[in-house]
């Protein structure tokens, strides 16, 4: 075959054009070798090792570190491919996650600088109700479960009241119960937890030092005698410093979130089609 006829061969033309296209593609293709590089920096490696140490309280072995690196690379490749496919877009979980992260960043600013004593004192007095300490009570009680007395309930209660007034011990009265007969220094909210709201209310106003009742509760009716009722009060800053500081910081965080959102919101136009947030008709 002569050279000239070879030059006329369509297969050769095809091959040459193909080669040219290949070279051209290499020049303009978006995925250059550089773009597909994943660098596991020393910093990243140290980070992986630190993470392992934090979990296992010891550094990783070389095999374990290699496993971490492989996993890091795999994450990176699949993440990049997924991002390239647009899988990040409109993913509600990712959106919520990113929102969460940004909010944490913003909350951080609430932490900047501590409050002065003057600020805390002012905060305490303007939120006094929040820091109010409950009354603390010591008392004795006897339970009468109506189901165990039937129509004898009233007479049993009066008989016991008379006996208690003559010095009988609460343990000697009633028919026995898992409720404690004597309670020492229990804050009112815990009295309410153990005996119910109604009983707690009665303790707030019952006379100190004398047997009284019957007082109802979820268990039945009680005779009770308060031996001491320390009134509730607003604590001093020194007494409540930890709580006041914590609540003050919390308020700062909440305010930071609200302020920052308000600031960001101003930069956005929100268009609600139809003018109102309503469920579109089907």
């Amino acid at each position: 075959m002569r050279i000239s006829s070879l030059l006329k061969e369509p297969l050769l033309h095809f091959l040459l054009i193909g080669m040219l296209l290949f070279l051209l593609y290499g020049k303009v293709a978006p995925t250059s070798a550089e773009g597909n590089r994943i660098t596991v920096s020393r910093g990243a490696m140290a980070g992986l090792a630190t993470q392992f140490q934090a979990t296992w309280s010891r550094p990783p072995t070389p095999v374990e570190l290699q496993g971490l690196v492989d996993s890091y690379v795999r994450d990176e490749i699949l993440f990049r491919e997924g991002v390239a496919l647009g899988l990040v877009k409109d993913d509600p979980v990712i959106k919520r996650r990113v929102r969460q992260k940004l909010e944490v960043l913003i909350e951080e600013e609430g932490k900047s600088g501590g409050a002065s004593d003057a600020e805390l004192s002012a905060y305490l007095s303007s939120n006094a109700a929040k820091f109010q300490m409950p009354p603390v009570l010591s008392f004795e009680q006897v339970l009468f479960d109506p189901a165990r007395y039937g129509d004898q309930l009233e007479s049993a209660v009066s008989a016991s009241l008379a006996a208690l007034n003559k010095g009988a011990t609460p343990e000697s009265q009633g028919k026995g119960s898992m409720l404690p007969a004597r309670v020492e220094n229990l804050p009112l909210d815990l009295v309410v937890r153990d005996f119910g709201e109604e009983f707690g209310k009665a303790l707030e106003s019952a006379p100190v030092g004398q047997w009284t009742g019957p007082v109802p509760s979820g268990f039945g009716v009680h005779l009770l005698r308060i031996s001491e009722r320390k009134p509730g009060y607003v604590p001093s800053l020194d007494e409540a410093r930890k709580a006041v500081t914590r609540e003050w910081e919390n308020d700062q965080r909440v305010a930071a979130l609200a302020n920052n959102y308000a600031r960001l919101r101003k930069d956005y136009d929100v268009l609600i089609e139809g003018g109102n947030a309503e469920v579109p008709a089907k």
Partner: protein, 644 residues
């Protein structure tokens, strides 16, 4: 992120996300009734008083998620661990759905147990790792934050974020170390909320093994404070750093204790969605069970979550056909996402009672009982709200917070398997009850470790169980009960050694109703043992009951207590049932040569279920088959008898 944790719920999530955040609902009517006052915000100055033996039972939740859990966040939960503790202490918070939420009574303790996988989201800038510090921009922000200029740094970061000028080296990408963890923040929230003597805020997390959506989660609870807990990162399930095999979690627990001198225990998640994997008897994760497995499991897994929002897993009617109370709030249709339907052969390996029985069998084979666990209940709510009261129930997830829709929506639906679980099947359950000498991390944790605990499906009834060989009828005296019980027996969670010649175990039992709850129907003892052929057996005994009922002479059964529930009005009366139940019971069928366990089950009279309160409140129509009443109950940790 473990997407398979959620795969079944993605449909629900996407539907919900569109609504949550922008939608505020009407304030609920649930707060009509008077609410008890919250614990004081300021912490008690006095040191807690420690009693000689546990005189008080403390109620709490060992399993609560907040927005730090990736799935809870996706469901729309906005509340943080900090909010969760504030709420548990009895304060009002605004729920993620925008409505005010407040418990009727504060809890005594709480474990915020967010999923460890993907818990972290703190920018690494705050942690100052080498990568960040090597970058000028990163170093600048880190230094600004550390020196108290957090405000300026945040604004600078936000600005740069908006204009796309954050250095590529520190641009946080998932999977890189560009996020430290929410762990430190979780710890901080617990430290702030912890108030020894009044309220215990435990440090903890949930390890979420969920391969093929077979739920094998474990909650890990620290006895320790921040100084030790903050030295580690929670264990995860993602390889290579983590693992989905509980054996590896136990190694992590061991490593934590060794390196810090701290202490942790694990509570296995209700196994009813594990599709037969919770209590293996032959092999686990491809490994034959051996002496190592059984001793290690017994060492770390001290408690078992018997009831929670995703159903109750004490017993199943298929396994316990003679137990008329076994059919209770069951979720027995499939695994966690409904991708695999339940088959009957799986049940034996995922209910507490059969697990306890299998434990006796394995002890005989391998020398140690791996399933010697105490019982607790908890919420597993993903709302930051441990609100498990029937008339004040805030659901399992944010979309299940009170609304007219929650009565009829689908929670888990899988078209392929046909498994479908409705929102109404979610239970307002439960809490963990712990007998402790004081309300502190150490005292409560120690009580959990010795299994002196019981599960409740929500109400706070007081339940005692003591086992010994010489309790007599006259010991059933309320005023001396605890003294007698501790002096001459062991409490729930304890062990009875070989019986003295001619003696059978005797049990001193007592229960008192919830101060604001329903009366009690009965106190039962559930016994499990190995028969002569080594086959596990069980029997339920009625030991104390209300209303002077007599056992049916033919069947030996106690007649039902009755029912005062007015469903339409969502009300009931305490005209039936008892305030307190007390008895001494002696095992009438005792064989001193075989191992056995005994646990208490206390049942309330029927009351309206949360669904009835919802119908009354929202005036909507329930679906056919919706359960409207419930007999709430408590399950105590067992007492084990061993012939050796």
């Amino acid at each position: 992120m473990r997407t398979n944790t959620l795969s079944a719920l993605i449909v629900a999530i996407t539907g919900v996300l569109a609504l949550s955040g922008c939608q505020k609902r009407e304030a609920p009517g649930a707060t009509e009734a008077p609410l008890a006052q919250a614990a004081p915000v300021a912490q008690s100055a006095a040191e807690p008083a420690q009693t000689e033996f546990p005189e008080k039972v403390f109620f709490g939740d060992t399993h609560l998620h907040t927005s730090y859990s990736v799935d809870a966040g996706a469901f729309g939960a906005r509340l943080t661990p900090r909010d969760a503790y504030v709420f548990a202490k009895g304060n009002e918070v605004t729920a993620s759905s925008g409505q005010p939420a407040k418990l009727r009574r504060p809890l005594d303790f709480l474990v915020v147990a967010d999923h460890s996988d993907a818990m972290g989201f703190f920018p690494l800038i705050l942690a100052g790792t080498p990568e960040i510090m090597a970058d000028p921009q990163g170093k600048k922000w880190h230094d600004m934050i550390k020196s108290g200029q957090g405000n300026a740094a945040a604004l600078d970061i936000i600005g740069n974020f908006g204009t796309g000028t954050i250095s590529k080296a520190i641009l946080p990408l998932p999977g890189t170390p560009a996020y430290a963890s929410a762990w430190q923040d979780t710890i901080k929230a617990a430290e702030e909320a912890n108030d020894p003597g009044r309220f215990t805020a435990f440090i903890g997390f949930e390890w979420t093994s969920n391969t093929a959506a077979n739920n094998l989660h474990r909650n890990v609870i620290f006895r320790d404070n921040a100084d030790k807990a903050s030295k580690v990162e929670p264990y995860t399930t993602m390889k290579p750093l983590g693992s989905d095999n509980p054996v590896d979690l136990w190694k992590w627990m061991e490593a934590y204790q060794q390196s810090t001198g701290g202490q942790v225990l694990a509570i296995a998640h209700n196994g009813n969605l594990s599709n037969g994997l919770m209590f293996p008897t032959v092999e686990a994760f491809g490994q034959k069970l051996d002496a190592g497995y059984v001793t290690t499991r017994a060492k770390w897994e001290r408690l078992y979550e018997t009831t929670q929002t995703k159903g109750t897993g004490e017993a199943h009617p298929y396994l316990s056909p003679n137990d008329e109370f076994a059919d209770f709030e069951l979720w027995d249709k499939g695994n966690l996402d409904g991708s695999a339907a339940k088959t009957r052969d799986m049940l034996e390996f995922e209910y507490a009672r059969s697990g306890l029985k299998s434990g006796l069998l394995l002890e005989k084979q391998l020398g140690t009982n791996p399933y010697k666990f105490g019982l607790i209940g908890s919420s597993d709510a993903h709302t930051g709200l441990a609100a498990m009261e029937e008339d004040n129930f805030f659901g399992k997830t944010t979309p299940q917070e009170p609304s007219p829709e929650r009565l009829t929506k689908v929670f888990i639906g899988n078209l392929k398997s046909g498994v479908r679980i409705m929102d109404w099947e979610v239970g307002a359950s439960g809490y963990a009850a712990v007998w402790a000498t004081e309300n502190t991390r150490t005292a409560l944790w120690d009580a959990m470790q010795r299994k002196e605990t019981y599960a409740t499906t929500g109400p706070r009834m007081t339940v005692r169980l003591f086992g010994g060989f010489d309790f007599e009828a006259r010991d059933a005296d309320a005023s001396t009960l605890a003294k007698t019980g501790y002096a001459r027996g062991v409490p729930m969670g304890g062990d009875l050694g070989a019986a003295p010649e001619g003696k059978a175990p005797t049990f001193l039992v007592a229960a008192m109703k919830d101060a604001i709850g329903a009366n009690l129907d009965r106190y039962q003892i559930v016994k499990g043992w190995l028969d002569k052929d080594g086959k596990p057996q069980e029997k339920v005994y009625d030991v104390a009951w209300s209303d002077n009922r007599t056992l049916d002479p033919k069947t030996g059964k106690l007649p039902a207590v009755g029912n005062t529930v007015n469903v339409a009005d969502a009300s009931w009366t305490n005209t039936i049932g008892a305030t307190e139940l007390m008895a001494v019971w002696k095992d009438p069928d005792f064989d001193a040569s075989v191992a056995a366990f005994y646990y208490g089950r206390v049942i309330e009279i029927p009351t309206p279920r949360w669904t009835a309160y919802d119908v009354k409140r929202f005036k909507n129509k329930p679906l056919d088959g919706t359960r409207m009443t419930i007999q709430e109950r408590a399950y105590t940790s067992p007492i084990w008898y061993s012939p050796n």
